[in-house]
């Protein structure tokens, strides 16, 4: 049996932003599977295996014909369920001709795709990503497609924010993060890292967001949903105004959102957003925040991007498994434990699933 992949297949993964999928063929690789996505005339999204049944030419090189895809080589046509509906030079259709159709659903402004067993694809299992809806929280994000690292390195990155002190110094990073204690808890499908920094000088970014003088309490409550979604509840409030007890009225709250989709075993698509619940009617601020995250290579996410790809390159050159771990890695290790459990369960199912007899 092959070594298990580092990701489960029976899970919903972000495949695209909803606005990116229109009346044209969009190719993506998700969990090693080549997929073509498009929007049907009724508005629903279709996701098909991106290889013609006949000679394997990527269907994404063909074109849309109504709700169907026509292969750009010999004109075979497949409907949005993956069934061949036209074959050249014959009056019938070979009944075995089809390409795989992947379960797909739109929620929280993203397109989610299930690369595994379609019989198990339950939309109720789509991760809770409601912060991205664009309603109670606002913000515009983006995607680093084909980021050259194992998606788990991004999870590690987000589950331990001490890296902010060093990677993002001068914006969100400061010494207070490494000085403050943190707690890690977990359930059977989520892990949470919580850190409160009480009575500190706000770091430059948060000082500008709060726009009020004085010392603050700062929080970072980062939740991982297996296998690859991370939501970080972050913000600051004036100190001694009750934020740790739940009253954030004297502060500003944001959330960093990450849906990280394995592309291959060593590359991923990183759907990111930073949303806020203050100055929601300020599109100028929305644009500034989005820019601050990328900023032509100098933004916060660009800083991570550089680190993550360099880390993967180093791993490839110096394979050493496992990493050495520090206490700061507790959140990441719980996240990886949950991923490993999903992968193991999937392997077990293959072997232990009982026959009907």
């Amino acid at each position: 049996m092959n070594a298990p992949k580092p990701f489960p297949l029976n899970a919903w993964y972000a495949a695209a932003w909803s606005h990116e999928i229109a009346r044209e063929l969009s190719a993506r690789t998700i969990c090693g599977k080549n997929i073509v996505l498009y929007r049907r005339t009724d508005g629903a999204i279709a996701a098909l295996e991106d290889a013609c049944w006949h000679r394997l030419l990527p269907l994404s090189l063909g074109h849309l014909k109504g709700d169907d895809v026509m292969c750009g080589y010999h004109g075979l046509v497949f409907n949005s369920a993956g069934r061949c509906s036209y074959m050249p030079a014959q009056k019938t259709i070979n009944p075995s001709a089809c390409v795989r159709a992947y379960p797909v659903a739109e929620r929280h402004r993203l397109v989610w795709l299930w690369p595994g067993d379609p019989a198990q694809a339950d939309p109720a299992k789509i991760p809770d990503f409601h912060w991205n809806d664009g309603t109670h929280w606002v913000g515009e994000g983006g995607t680093f497609y084909q980021l050259k690292c194992d998606y788990r390195l991004v999870v590690d990155n987000l589950m331990d924010l001490t890296h902010e002190t060093y990677v993002h110094a001068g914006s969100i990073g400061d010494e207070a993060i490494t000085a403050a204690p943190f707690d890690v808890t977990h359930t059977d499908n989520a892990a949470t890292m919580m850190r409160w920094m009480i009575d500190i000088e706000p770091p430059p970014f948060w000082g500008r967001q709060l726009a009020r003088p004085g010392r603050v309490d700062r929080w970072q409550i980062v939740t991982f949903q297996a296998p690859s979604v991370v939501v970080g509840d972050v913000g600051v409030a004036l100190t001694n105004t009750g934020a740790p007890q739940g009253d954030r009225s004297q502060g500003v709250s944001g959330a960093f959102l990450a849906a990280i989709t394995p592309e291959t075993e060593t590359t991923c698509h990183y759907f990111w957003n930073f949303v806020r619940n203050y100055r929601k009617d300020d599109p100028q601020l929305t644009r500034e925040l989005q820019l601050a995250h990328v900023n032509g290579g100098a933004g916060v996410y660009d800083q991570d991007h550089r680190i993550l790809e360099a880390q993967q390159a180093a791993i490839d050159k110096n394979p050493r498994s496992p990493f050495y771990d520090l206490n700061i890695d507790a959140g990441a290790l719980w996240a990886r434990r949950l991923i490993d459990q999903m992968v193991a369960d999937e392997q077990d199912r293959v072997i232990a699933n009982l026959a009907a007899e």
């Binding site: 070979n94 009944p95 075995s96 007899e357």
Partner: protein, 335 residues
């Protein structure tokens, strides 16, 4: 162009008779496949008259325990596969091939109609279980000659309950295919596996109802037609050949046995690669393919040599072999 497949060593673990004519074979392969999906089949090398020949059988049940289950109906007049299978004893070694699926089930359709006739229940059974598990909207109509021919009836009744309806032909029950198709959601899919007549009727009604061809799914291993398998003779004037096709060999196999160069693809009557022109037929041609349309078959201009045959008598055909000198005039094999 199918990928060449590696043979897999296996062992017949146990057998169990499901009906007087249908036997379940539990096969244990040396290397189980990771994932078997509803509609999959395996090819088995079956000893027929002392030489192993490939036969395809649908897998029964969800599997997943590393065993392959197939159900084989004993047909004395068939091409020998079933008789060869029925002779096998538990513990005997077998050669099989990796499961493949050419009858893939779509998930997430709003409605499904499953139609099974006789031994055609085998892939449909597995599909019904899978659809039940996903809470899909589906119905299974299962016809057989007699009540005792309803293989897997108890299991089906237990798993899918009211979604199942039996039709016992000798009690005068018939499936109203047109009526049932009319009840199906316009976006629904029809899956058929059963005798030739059932499939032909379903295809005709489906077309007449204006339903999209892509939503009718069926599988045929090309092993049943209008007539029982009988020996017949073929003549190929261009090559100066006369070949006897025994009841248990296909026309394509007989051509290959006689050294005629043929190209072929699926060997199940789907792709149309092994098609040859008919020059003259002394008896009715039993077209068992799904490559030609009904109109094309009616003209009797060509036939799919992998599955179609003459009911008896002889067929005069041509081949693409343009070699000037007949190469095969001597050594006409006695098969």
């Amino acid at each position: 162009m199918a990928k060449p497949m590696e043979p897999i060593a296996a062992r017949l673990r146990a057998t169990r008779d499901l009906t007087p004519d249908v036997r379940l074979f539990e096969i244990e392969p040396d290397y189980p496949s990771a994932k078997v999906t509803p509609g999959s089949h395996i090819d088995v090398l079956v000893p027929i008259d002392g030489r192993p020949q490939l036969r395809s059988y649908s897998l029964v049940g969800p599997g997943g325990d590393g065993l392959y289950r197939i159900a084989v109906k004993r047909v004395a007049s068939g091409r020998g596969g079933s008789v060869g299978m029925w002779r096998l004893k538990a513990g005997e070694p077998l050669t099989i091939f990796e499961p493949r699926n050419s009858f893939e089930l779509s998930y997430g359709r709003p409605d499904y109609l499953l139609l099974a006739g006789g031994i055609g229940i085998t892939p449909i059974y597995t599909m019904a279980l899978a659809l039940k598990q996903t809470d899909a909207n589906f119905r299974l109509l299962y016809a057989a000659r007699s009540r005792s021919d309803l293989a897997l009836a108890d299991e089906l009744a237990r798993y899918i309950g009211e979604r199942l309806q039996f039709f016992v032909n000798e009690e005068g029950q018939r499936i109203d295919i047109a009526g049932e198709i009319a009840r199906l959601d316009p976006r629904g899919e029809l899956y058929v596996c059963g005798p030739f007549g059932m499939l032909e009727a379903a295809k005709r009604v489906w077309r007449e109802a204006g339903r999209p061809a892509a939503q009718l799914r069926y599988e045929t291993f090309g092993n049943a037609g209008k007539f029982a398998d009988a020996p017949f003779r073929i003549r190929i004037p261009r090559l100066g050949l006369e070949i006897d096709v025994p009841a248990h060999r296909s026309l394509l196999e007989a051509l290959e046995d006689a050294g005629v160069d043929m190209i072929f693809g699926c060997r199940r009557g789907e792709c149309g690669l092994c098609v040859l022109p008919i020059l003259e037929a002394s008896a009715e041609v039993d077209h068992r393919d799904v490559f030609f349309s009904g109109e094309e078959r009616a003209t009797n201009g060509k036939l799919c040599t992998c599955v179609s045959r003459a009911a008896s008598g002889s067929l005069t055909i041509d081949t693409p072999d343009q070699t000037r000198t007949p190469r095969h005039s001597q050594d006409v094999p006695v098969v």
